[in-house]
């Protein structure tokens, strides 16, 4: 379909003769992932675009309140949580699941187990997210941040998560390579953390609601733990996989990585209550102290990557490298902003402003989205057996994402700080303080628009890749099923 040279190559060097068997083994492993993973990736990107569209609407409403105000379905209080839920549960979870399953297979040198179960789980997960997002838009939100989906959706969400997650663990259990790599620690940790935080928060908020101020504590804890105990470990697993790979070196130290892993596990779940929250003071103080301790995993990870990549030049003109690099930088930026914002002195200014929205966007789009996208650029050609149909779309995706994320996040962070400073100044009337953020909010809308365009380009590229894959694999030969063995897979190409 497209013959121009692809920029997605990662490795270079002489072929050694005895690698033929290893090659066909890797081929077999990749092929075993094809159907469930491509389904997850495609669904995840559809949610990314849908969520981006919804968040664009909510972003416009911040500086043009009259926009689409006739319909109760599209009021800000419904559109914003709907967008966040679509992005986190629709995009982030499915994208993460796809990448996590592939990493489990690759690092364990084992074929993916339970492909049909994963497909079933992914199908019901999508049904659940769709019901949830529509429920929020219809006004049935629970009102708890990041858990807005109506109560009847969450059991389905949980069961379908388990349907997918259990196969990651089964694949992990039957791994051929017994020596564990750093990414696997993070993946297993994240796979177990989500059911824990999700069921705990659902039980305490939706099914047997705790009383009064404790709800704010549980909700704040869940929102933060979802990032630090789920999104960050998954993203780090991907980065720990690709950084040594892209630099063609081995990771500097597994012991340093263990230090980072255990400090993250120990202190990741402490944060979430911002200073000034209407809860007993010790809760926010513990949260601040825990947030401060998060500097330790940050240092350990940064040091490890720095010592791994020291003196080496990353591959040039490599799409995966670009995305992964941006994701890694965004990880540090978002974490530092998050830790900084948790201090009382800064929190007094930034709390309850769009600053926190900006930091969350940096985590979601900058760190998580870019890292997962980098992984998808790497793994999708491998599991489909086809090159990316368009390098132009990929470049557009990268450029649009970088500019979009920078504009979006800078708008929200700078606007939030200005808003906070002005609200705290008793000389300035409240409405004037709010009004002064309008240019910044406009900037964030512009960023959101660019990002949406970039993600649309990504989605189109993936759809074209899927079409290409179908043409070459399903119709060219006699419908040989995916993962039918190295010989059959080789013959298909």
């Amino acid at each position: 379909m497209n013959t121009q040279p692809s920029a997605l190559a990662n490795s270079a060097g002489p072929v050694s003769g005895d690698s033929a068997a290893a090659k066909s083994r890797v081929l077999q492993i990749d092929r075993s992932c094809r159907l469930p993973l491509m389904f997850l990736i495609a669904c995840s990107l559809v949610w990314l675009v849908a969520g981006g569209f919804l968040s664009l609407i909510s972003s416009i409403k911040l500086h043009a309140p009259g926009f689409l105000s006739q319909s109760s379905w599209l009021t800000y209080g419904r559109v914003y949580p709907a967008a966040m839920n679509a992005l986190w549960y629709g995009f982030a979870f499915q994208g993460a699941m796809a990448v996590a399953l592939w990493l489990m297979c690759r690092l364990g040198r084992a074929e993916l187990m339970g492909g049909k179960g994963i497909l079933l789980g992914a199908f019901f997960w999508n049904v659940a997210v769709k019901l949830g997002v529509l429920g929020i838009l219809a006004g049935a939100s629970t009102g708890h941040s990041m858990l807005e989906m109506p109560g009847y959706v969450s059991p389905l969400l949980f069961v379908s998560y388990c349907l997918m997650g259990v196969w990651a663990l089964v694949t992990f259990h039957f791994r051929q390579e017994r020596q564990l790599y750093v990414s696997q620690w993070y993946l297993v940790g994240a796979l177990f953390c989500f059911p824990w935080i999700f069921t705990a928060a659902q039980l305490l908020l939706v099914f047997h609601p705790v009383r009064g101020t404790l709800q704010a504590v549980v909700s704040g804890w869940y929102g933060h733990a979802l990032i630090t105990l789920w999104a960050v470990p998954i993203g780090l697993a991907v980065l720990f996989y690709f950084i040594p790979k892209l630099f063609g070196r081995q990771l500097h130290s597994r012991h340093l990585a263990a230090f980072g892993f255990w400090t993250l596990a120990a202190f990741g779940g402490w944060g979430g209550m911002h200073a000034g929250a209407p809860v007993p003071r010790w809760i926010s103080s513990v949260s601040i102290a825990g947030g401060m301790m998060m500097i330790l995993p940050l240092i350990a990870v940064a040091l490890n990557w720095h010592l791994t990549a020291r003196g080496a030049k990353g591959p040039e003109n490599n799409q995966v490298f670009r995305f992964v690099q941006f994701g890694a930088i965004a990880f540090f930026a978002a974490s530092l902003l998050d830790i900084g914002g948790s201090f009382r002195v800064i929190g007094e200014v930034t709390d309850l402003t769009v600053f926190t929205t900006g930091v969350k966007a940096l985590y979601l789009y900058g760190f998580f989205g870019m890292t997962i996208a980098g992984a998808i650029y790497y793994l999708a050609p491998k599991i489909t057996g086809c090159d990316w149909p368009s390098d132009q779309l990929a470049k557009l995706h990268y450029l649009g994402s970088v500019v979009g994320i920078l504009v979006l996040v800078l708008g929200l962070v700078a606007g939030g700080i200005l808003q906070g400073v002005r609200i705290n100044n008793p000389e300035i009337p409240f409405v004037e303080a709010i009004r002064s953020t309008i240019p910044f909010l406009g900037l964030s809308t512009l960023g959101g628009l660019l990002l949406l365009a970039a993600n649309l380009a990504f989605l189109v590229n993936v759809i074209r890749l899927l079409a290409l894959c179908c043409c070459t694999n399903c119709f060219a030969s006699n419908r040989s099923p995916a993962g039918s063995g190295p010989a059959a897979a080789g013959a298909n190409l």
């Binding site: 490795s11 060097g13 081995q250 103080s285 010592l307």
Partner: protein, 228 residues
Amino acid sequence: MKPDRKKKQHSSRESRQPERKTKRGSGGDQRMAQDVEPSAGSEITPVWLFVLMGLMLYGGMLYLNSYAGGFNPKVYEAFTSYKLVENANPKSGPEMLIAKGESLYMVCAACHQVNGMGVALQFPPLAGSEWVNEPNPARLIRIPLHGMNGPIKVKDQDWNASMAALGAALSSEDIAAILSYIRQAWGNNAPPVSPADVDAVKEDTKSRPMDGSRPWLIDDLMKVPVAP
């Protein structure tokens, strides 16, 4: 730290790995089979990182010690300790008297000491004293009102000292406040004294001057009825 069971075998495999790196093929299928899975080296974790962790844990403890409001669930954001919360709240009745008595007790602390233990052989203790803890304060009120002189038995010890009269210097409310305070401080446990109680005693002892010219002697004091 993760135990590194297979360190030896592992590192030998790692050293082989760079050779297994293969060149990029012409087609996509060939290329995908050539990527080598990452592995990790076994460099030790720098010691300063553990030192830093220790320092940060210590700093965190210090922070919680001074900014967590003593982990009291009643202390919310604007306050750093329960004491401040208490002071910011309006007091009522006996509580207010006791709080006032605590600051006025400085007058008494000169002899009886801040801890209420008195000074051995000179001034008898108030903590645990049967005179202070008597449910009926009729005798207790008389002592600061008119002063006291001569021998007295406190906590099975004989004391021989004289106490100044404070009735002229302090109002009924002040005396009630001080007595209420010492009756619940340092483990003492007796009901508070109201200003009305003090006024009633003043009424009963009109003939006795409050300038200290006629302090109580133990025999006179024992004649005052304390039956409920």
